[in-house]
């Protein structure tokens, strides 16, 4: 058991894994990660803080939703493929059910003028939220002209030229990696 290396005896069952992440999925308004950390590290002590940070490092490095990747890596660590499936389904069941219910209700009432107007304003605010996210995550680029150039090229390729991501992403990623590596400080 890998878990022994922590000195802990954490050994959640498949059911524990499902219920732990089910609760995280229900609570996770406006970002699941803080809730997941609370459950995994503080409440159930499945991982130490260092192990959690390490696992999150892996899961942010790989493509896919960070938290979805955490469910897979953590579930696999304790219970193999069934554990990974239990964590993933635990996390996703409630949010998918809720969002489907929201979608059905929205489709039924979208024609009403107040609902339509609410969504004009809500869509605008949600767009502004993405803008604010971009603004905040861009701060590490300050003082790095090459990285700013790469971000600008990506923006032009995707938002202006509307290139397919399948074609643009590998070129941009490889180009950016080689460029920044070549001129690293």
């Amino acid at each position: 058991m890998e878990a022994i290396t922590t000195g802990e005896t954490a050994s959640p069952s498949v059911v524990d894994l499902f219920t732990g992440f089910f609760i995280v999925g229900v609570y996770g308004f406006g970002g699941v990660l803080p809730w997941a950390r609370r459950m995994i590290v503080e409440q159930r002590k499945w991982l130490t803080p260092v192990e959690f940070t390490d696992m999150l490092g892996l899961c942010s490095f790989l493509p896919g939703g960070n938290i979805m990747n955490v469910t897979i890596a953590l579930g696999a660590r304790f219970r193999g493929i069934p554990g990974a499936a239990a964590c993933f389904l635990g996390l996703m069941t409630a949010p998918v059910a809720i969002v489907i219910a929201l979608g059905v209700v929205y489709d039924r009432y979208a024609y009403l003028p107040p609902v339509r107007q609410a969504f004009v304003a809500l869509s605008a605010a949600a767009a502004a939220f993405v803008l604010a996210t971009a603004w905040k995550i861009a701060s590490p680029l300050r003082g790095k002209p090459l990285a700013i150039g790469v971000a600008a090229c990506t923006f032009v390729a995707i938002a202006v030229l509307r290139l397919p991501l399948m074609a643009a992403m590998p070129v941009l990623t490889i180009g950016s990696t080689l460029l920044l590596w070549r001129f690293r400080k």
Binding site: G65, G103, A118, F119, F129, A134
Partner: protein, 174 residues
């Protein structure tokens, strides 16, 4: 190809490019859903993105909503499963050997290279959503005011989104 298999193909492709979560995928999702497959207008897509913010869970829930709109209940399950499957298999495989290369220099280099690309993608997402939601000057005003609140205050984002929706519903916007 049936609609469900088209949905599965679109979202499975997106899965392995999802660095930075769903926010980085919005331009490609919009391109596929609006321009390539003509499943909905850019405005309808932006509204689904907004609706997804009202649900708990990972920031991928817009994927389920697009599936629901295009393919009904099964569409929602297909898109959610398709966007998760390839990246989950990759995570499963890599998590078993991660200790071997987590400090490798090529990994550090790749991560550094991905960072500005992700920032560019999320900026592109913001630009496209702003383009399709700025239907009049009042919507533009909502964008400016809420962007300021998101960036310069510590208010809960859900509170700001809720306030914007209420402002719209009572007829001040739209």
């Amino acid at each position: 190809m049936s609609t469900l298999s088209q949905l599965a193909a679109v979202y499975a492709q997106l899965s392995l490019m999802a660095f930075g979560g769903a926010n980085a995928l919005i331009p490609e999702m919009q391109r596929q859903v609006v321009d390539v497959h003509h499943w909905m207008s850019a405005q309808a897509f932006a509204a689904l993105y907004a609706l997804a913010q009202a649900a708990p869970g990972p920031n991928m829930m817009v994927v389920s909503l697009v599936g629901l709109r295009v393919g009904g209940f099964w569409g929602a399950l297909v898109t959610t499963g398709a966007v998760a499957a390839p990246s989950s298999v990759l995570t499963y495989l890599v998590s078993r050997v991660w200790d071997r290369f987590k400090n490798a220099s090529w990994r550090t280099a790749l991560q550094a290279g991905l960072q500005p690309v992700t920032i560019g993608l999320i900026s592109a997402s913001a630009a496209l959503l702003i383009e399709s939601t700025t239907v009049d000057w009042r919507a533009a005003l909502v964008i400016v005011v809420t962007a300021g609140l998101f960036i310069f205050t510590k208010l809960n984002p859900l509170l700001i989104l809720g306030a914007a929706a209420v402002t719209g519903a009572v007829g001040l916007v739209g």
